[in-house]
Amino acid sequence: MRRLEFILRRLLSSIFVLIGVSIIIFFLARVIPSNAAALYIGPKARPEDIARVSKQLGLDRPLPVQYAIYMRDLLHGDLGTSIGTKRPVLTEIIDRAPATLELLFTGMFLAALIGVPLGVLSARWQGKPLDVAARTISIFGVSMPAFYLGLLLQILFFRNLHWLPLAGRMSTALRFTNPIEPITNFLVLDSLLTRNWVALKDTALHLVLPALTLAAYPIGLIARMTRAAMLEVLEQDYIRTARAYGIKDFIITYLYALKNAISPTLTVIGLTVAFALTGTFFVEIIFNWPGLGLFTVRSLLNVDYPSIMGMTLFGATAYVLINSIVDLLQAWVDPRISLK
């Protein structure tokens, strides 16, 4: 019962935060620009268009009414029309989301897969060369700009070693030789599901460098947080007891200790998912990855205002939701949290 109450309370508070977020974006989208209507039509706006759009957006009405109009459009899924592509912003977002999500999931999976063991090893061998090496990797990870790391990886793996493709989601020729049937629009997954092995190899290879670039910062953060959490747990009495019983070191570290260090690790993973969401912007430009990030950056450069504000809203909503999910997951992993 306490747990249900916790979940409801948490969801309710995210709804309030989302309303607040919508108010901030409303101000950025409609109030702060001196002529929002012109921004919504683009550089070729004629005076009569501006007058029409001003009326449509209610720019001549009081602020609360404007906000109501903004929210009404929002709840009908109307984020405006992209100036660049002349298509609804929501359609653009939905079309491009799979590419970004594929990158984001792969990157975060890599980050957890590398970051958590790195942190555990670091804590287990505290002060030893292994710890120093792991900490060096993690501090490099959090200090390296993604847009720089991506370029360095391209130089190394494409230009010097010829191991991996330079950019894009797949080779152009693939479209004709081994076309991928869209099911989920996650290209690697679709190739796998349709047993298209040629495409699988090609798309997987294209994913390696972008995913690694995206994962670098999260790897560093996750490893640091896991190390700190593990150090705290490893000092506790029950671990000493387990050692006294002669239980194998491997089991103590990975089973007994990691289980109790996982809660702070989960928080940081959640935070980094949200951080990686903006990281995809840089990764997508560097690797010409046709996702939301590339769309956002093009919109920024072309002052495609409806698209920029649509993406801001989308990104902030995703961020709030991810954080709520992490909180709920944490309460599930560590029941003490929901009892507080």
């Binding site: 935060v17 989302l18 607040g20 977020v21 108010i23 901030i24 974006i25 950025l28 989208a29 702060i32 620009p33 505290q126 501090i139 490099f140 959090v142 200090s143 390296m144 700009p145 993604a146 847009f147 720089y148 370029l151 360095l152 391209q154 130089i155 494409f158 230009r159 330079l166 700190a228 150090l231 705290e232 949200a274 951080f275 969401l277 903006t278 912007f281 840089f282 430009i285 560097i286 956002t296 950056v297 920024l300 450069l301 002052v303 205002y305 920029i308 504000m309 801001t312 990104g315 902030a316 961020y319 709030v320 954080n323």
Partner: protein, 297 residues
């Protein structure tokens, strides 16, 4: 006889004492010392950029066509870019927007955030609720995303990018200072000041805020690495410094198309960001170890 509370143990001058303590720890820790030296060196280079840069005019944008894409050589040790400008000079001049501006951003974020945090923590109740709910809203955005949106609302450029970052960063210091204030509120020197009728505003200014300086400094050092990264990101995206002015993030972006053949155009500026951020992160780690005893082992 009951024990008299040991008032003398209450360190009102805590901040000056810990400052000396911090210095002694930094001097003894080789990594932290090296990081401090690197940071100070970069700041000095940024301040004296016109004196240090070999070709200051090229550094701020004058083109020099004969040197287009010149590879690194004795006269131009980091090479020249697409417009023949000496890259070393541009990296040096670029330190101003890329390093000094983020420091300014953090200073302003502290100036806005810290007093609000002290008021929230000291007053409590409804004032606290309102202030903290507002910070929650700003923290509900990924900082880069909010900064991007604000910059495009205000118009791109270095100044607006800096304003955008201040707007998205102050809530962190509000949260921090509020937490510290709540613990200070119960201390004897605050209670004593209240008992003799000192006004709330004076207590906050004279007794609370000075004692939040150490944690703020630690947090600011830790944050600076991130702020430099985000600022560099905005410049890379074309939202910050506008060409022909130099900025590290912008320089990486300008050389991106030539990365496979003329690699030197992008790499130096990127390396500069990496080194400075690494230095701030290393120093931040040491400071955090001093102030967070749970991590101090």
């Amino acid at each position: 006889m009951t024990a008299i509370p040991a008032l003398s143990v209450e360190p009102e001058l805590q901040s000056t004492r810990t400052f000396r303590h911090v210095l002694s720890v930094i001097v003894r820790d080789p990594l932290a010392l090296a990081s401090t030296i690197v940071i100070v060196l970069f700041i000095l280079i940024a301040i004296f950029a016109y004196q240090v840069a070999p070709y200051p005019q090229e550094g701020i944008g004058r083109t020099n066509a004969p040197n287009t894409m010149l590879a690194p050589s004795a006269g131009h040790i980091l090479g020249a870019d697409r417009l023949g400008r000496d890259i070393l000079s541009r990296v040096i001049m670029g330190a101003r927007p890329a390093l000094i501006v983020p420091i300014g951003v953090v200073v302003f974020a502290v100036l806005i955030g810290a007093p609000l945090g002290a008021i929230a923590g000291y007053k409590g109740g409804r004032v606290d609720d309102v202030i903290m709910r507002i910070t929650d809203l700003f923290l509900a955005f990924p900082s880069l995303l909010l900064a991007m949106a604000i910059t495009s609302a205000l118009g791109r450029g270095l100044q607006n990018a800096a304003i955008a970052l201040i707007i998205s960063w102050w809530p962190w210091y509000t949260r921090l200072v509020r937490g510290v204030t709540i613990s200070l509120r119960e201390r004897y020197f605050v209670e004593a000041a209240q008992a003799i009728g000192v006004r709330d505003s004076v207590i906050i200014l004279r007794h609370i805020l000075p004692n939040t300086i150490s944690p703020i400094l630690v947090q600011a050092t830790v944050d600076l690495g991130t702020v430099i990264l985000v600022m560099g990101g905005l410049a890379f995206l074309g939202l910050g410094t506008q060409p022909p002015a130099p900025d590290w993030g912008l320089m990486v972006s300008e050389g991106r198309d030539y990365i496979l053949n003329q690699w030197w155009v992008s790499t130096s500026a990127g390396l500069a960001i990496f080194i400075v951020v690494l230095a701030f992160n290393l120093l931040g780690d040491t400071l955090r170890d001093i102030f967070d005893p749970r991590q101090y082992k």
